[in-house]
């Protein structure tokens, strides 16, 4: 499944390109549409958003939309794939030069919070994709989990982390990040306070039980 959905992205882009958008002008329009869509979808959600609105904001005619995207669903899906890609890139890049796995978690959480602050809109989009394309929703989190699991396994093998089923740990950590991000970044529209970030890290590293 992952493969397919992942590849769809490129295929899709290529197919569209082969039909149109061979010029810079076309590519610019495409970008205008994506940007507009990101904002509208993020603000009003998928269902309350309308194509008219998107094209209005993009400053193009309604029909132009369909030169670049097959449907409302498709542009939405593309946005999700982009978000997934960007976020994973940012995290893996930031984490790449880290010394310990513990530090990696710290950096990773930080980048994640920064990202959703920056892309507040796109972030909400992910939440709604499950009602539009459930497979893509699963794919979204599976992608993250896979990368996470890999890192965890290395850390466990190296003795940095004790052995705990990596998939469980991965989803648990993602859950922690998502809910703290939701609570502070999305609801409060601020940064996650340092205290909270520290607490979260202490929690996942050492748990809530008192250390003896």
């Amino acid at each position: 499944m992952n493969r397919e959905i992942g590849n769809n992205r490129t295929e899709n882009k290529n197919r569209v390109k082969s039909l149109q958008a061979k010029t810079d002008r076309g590519e610019a329009t495409r970008q205008k549409l994506l940007t507009a869509a990101e904002e509208i979808f993020g603000t009003k959600g998928f269902h309350r958003a309308s194509i008219v609105e998107i094209t209005l904001k993009a400053g193009v005619a309604q029909g132009t939309f369909y030169l670049y995207f097959q449907s409302k669903d498709k542009i939405f899906e593309e946005l999700v794939r982009e978000l997934n890609h960007s976020l994973r890139c940012e995290i893996s890049h930031a984490v790449s030069e880290v010394k310990s796995r513990q530090e990696a978690e710290e950096i990773g959480f930080g980048v994640f919070f920064a990202f959703i602050k920056e892309h507040r809109n796109l972030y909400r989009i992910v939440q709604e994709i499950q009602f539009v394309n459930e497979d893509l929703y699963k794919w979204y989190y599976t992608q993250f989990a896979e990368g996470y699991i890999e890192g965890l396994e290395k850390a466990m093998a190296a003795g940095e982390f004790r052995y705990l089923d990596p998939e469980t740990v991965a989803y648990a950590f993602i859950g922690v990040a998502e809910f703290l991000g939701m609570r502070w970044v999305l609801w409060e529209k601020e940064d996650v306070p340092p205290k909270t970030l520290n607490t979260a890290l202490k929690l996942i590293m050492e748990g809530v039980l008192p250390r003896k």
Copy 2:
């Protein structure tokens, strides 16, 4: 905010009742509608569900719907409040006779997973409420967090848990539960495997770092 949203529920019910002379027949119809709505909303999501479908399943006329609920949004919101109420009741009841806070977490997670397995439909509804009534979405999690925080504070005061910002811990734990529930109960349509549950508990209790 909480107050208002919480009260809406009762107000709503009362208003309708006062209009309808509280007949049993009326109350039965109301219940039929709620039950039908639960299934339809849960299956197809809020936007794809239609009032006709709900009334059809409930076996009443279209117009009848508006005798009991002001709008599509409102019945949806009521369902969310019901879900919130039931789940919190079940958990607090199950947890009430527990000896340690640690055991409370264990029981709590278990009950939560069982609940979403049972109410898979209603559970999906919560995910979608954020696009219909964002305040209610916040209310939903705030309610949980509040109860959770209270329990955590007691445990910390008693020295069962070490002191960590309780709100952070509460949202983190909720995040863990939600994502494991999503991954195993909703995606696999099975129980959360015991191994996963154990791993999760170990994780939140003692963290991933090796114990010295």
Copy 3:
């Protein structure tokens, strides 16, 4: 009416030519478009066919279409005129060396069936023209009828056929040919069986009443 419509054809061509300096390259493009249009219109019908599709199949840009044809309607009409022309040419040519009028009918029916088998696509086009340009539709059949009437009158004058209102006979014969062609060639996608052809000829020559 006939005159005008008939002339439109040439006028149209000439006008375009005069704009386009009659280059061979231009004429080739024009032909590519006509050929593509014939296939697309024939396959999907006028309304379901699209200009993009035609230009795609012709291997030219969308805009190019309008260099050679004024509109979707016009190319469709031109196709009809071409069909009319070809079919009448084929028939009159085949019939030209015939000895009796009776034989002419035989040959004529045969050529007609062969033609629609060959040009199944173009043939369907004629059926649809009535909803695009009713005059042209009438023109199409009037052209046939006129030729037919002429031949019939000669045969009647010569005593080969008895005298019956020639226009009625002409339309009746055309109707017979069309319906047998529809039934066997278009529906069965085969030749009209010899038995059917013979039956038809017997029928129009001698009727259904028993010969005394």
Copy 4:
């Protein structure tokens, strides 16, 4: 095929009825829509007709249309089935009390011409159905042919008509009727002149060859 398409009619009607239209009011609306549709489709053809136009003429809201018909296609198809039914009923009724098969043809042709004069609109509809639902188009003529064949076989068995492949004769006769109807009723918007009708009958009875 015939069965299915034929039955669809009743099924369709019933299905719709079960959803709505249980009252006289509903049935009246349904009729208003059918009547309006008959006129609009007949005048402008299927593709150029629009639902708005139909509902406007029927004096109902756009949405009302979809209470009674599933789609633009479906109402069109229903109209065709109705036409087919009515016409066959009228003919078979008129022909039922006839003494000879020859007289039956005479009456049949007459009723047919009268019918298309009366239902000029509906008649054009049939021509276009082939581009909307090809099976239904075939069904339309197959229905006629079947009835026709039956009558012809009887006449041939009785020696009233000589033996000629009945299916061929049926389609040929239908073709004659259609083309004369087209030429005089539809194009001239008048009755088929008696002369023409007589000529046609003579032709199909005795052919064009001189009687010896």
